[in-house]
Symmetry: C2
Subunit: 228 residues, 2 copies
């Protein structure tokens, strides 16, 4: 590891799904020399889902560089994709970063920044069909690596993504020590975390809840893709 | 579900391990009627690990009741156990709650509040030996239920704990829909998340890092246990 800090920037926006970035943050801050920075287009405060308000958020434009950028997803991703300042700053930091990462629908922001053209990429299972308009090749794996681009599946996939990247940066043995430190030996109460595993009525219920978002998200993706 | 809100209180303190509560928060806010409240002894802001600052934190004393209380752990748990206001308010809210939960070393706070006497309880694997001074019976499972007390293992165990409690509150099918919504089909890059699974040198490295905390934590537990 070099003596200079390894700068990890989490690019946040209102109505972000907090576990999309809090999961990776809990892993990445344990990297020796890591400096984790919460940032958004305008800085200040971010209102995440679940009643969580994050403060001391920096302005992306004030951040000189990132070694790693991580873009989470969430309900606010429609507005995030349409925010030209946000998308431009994500692109700038990503261009200079060793690792460009996303979790869940955060890959749509990377798409809007033109970073997915011709690349394999993942997304939350319900939103993978929004990747091709950005020129991405859909990959259904939980953690998808294409060069220095590492995109995760939905929400909890961020923990697996971060540990995978950690192994690349600091070696497998160090990554294992972090995994042991956060006692990551998951034991989900059900086997239903992917659509092909869930009972049909469970899948139907989740799809019905997400259908409210579908038309707006498709329109936002089409609009963002036309700007590329 | 009843029409009145189901109040979930996260009892926070400085230097909390953020994933201990952000994991359960991402699950619990999806409970129909849930109202998730971040609270601490003095309210205002909380500085978690990883560079995350939470604001809009309420004062525990201002919260009338909780349906569910969740106490996370973290580096600041020594000070949390020694904070008489914090421990008293946790006890008061727990006494009226349908569910009393903790993640990681958060169970030590429940112990300091006198809530573990004669109960089976879990903790982060490295700190289970701190439970007996509080009269608790150590249980090495990832999610431990004894009556209305549900205690989780280290950090990431909070997600499994929350989904387990969700099934109890809202039924297995609804809990499954939440698990699918957050794509919780974990695929850790390594099989090392419990001490008995990790390579010997990995376990040695983690124990060495935690040994710095051991003397202070033992002293804090002895002191808190004497007050019971």
């Amino acid at each position: 590891m070099s003596a200079s800090p390894f700068i990890v920037v989490f690019a946040l926006f209102d109505r972000v799904t907090q576990l999309d970035f809090t999961g990776p943050n809990e892993v990445f801050w344990r990297l020796p020399g890591a400096q984790c920075v919460m940032a958004s287009a305008r800085g200040g405060e971010i209102r995440a889902d679940g009643g969580l308000t994050i403060t001391n958020v920096q302005r992306l434009a004030d951040i000189e560089r990132a070694d790693l950028i991580c873009v989470p997803g969430g309900f606010g991703v429609i507005e995030a994709m349409a925010d030209a300042d946000f998308v431009r700053e994500v692109r700038r930091l990503a261009d200079g970063a060793r690792y460009v990462t996303s979790v869940c629908s955060g890959s749509l922001v990377l798409g809007a920044a033109g970073l997915l053209r011709g690349k394999r990429a993942g997304c939350h299972w319900a939103w993978r069909d929004l990747l091709p308009p950005f020129g991405a090749i859909v990959d259904e794996h939980r953690v998808v690596r294409d060069g220095n681009l590492i995109t995760g599946g939905g929400v909890t996939a961020g923990i697996d993504m971060a540990l995978t990247v950690m192994a690349d940066i600091a070696g497998a043995e160090y990554a294992q020590s972090v995994q042991l430190g956060i006692e990551y030996a998951p034991a989900p109460p059900f086997e239903c975390g992917r659509p092909e595993l869930a009972a049909p009525q469970v899948l139907t219920a989740v799809k019905a809840r997400l259908d409210n978002l579908r038309a707006d998200r498709h329109a936002a993706v089409q609009k963002a893709a036309q700007l590329l």
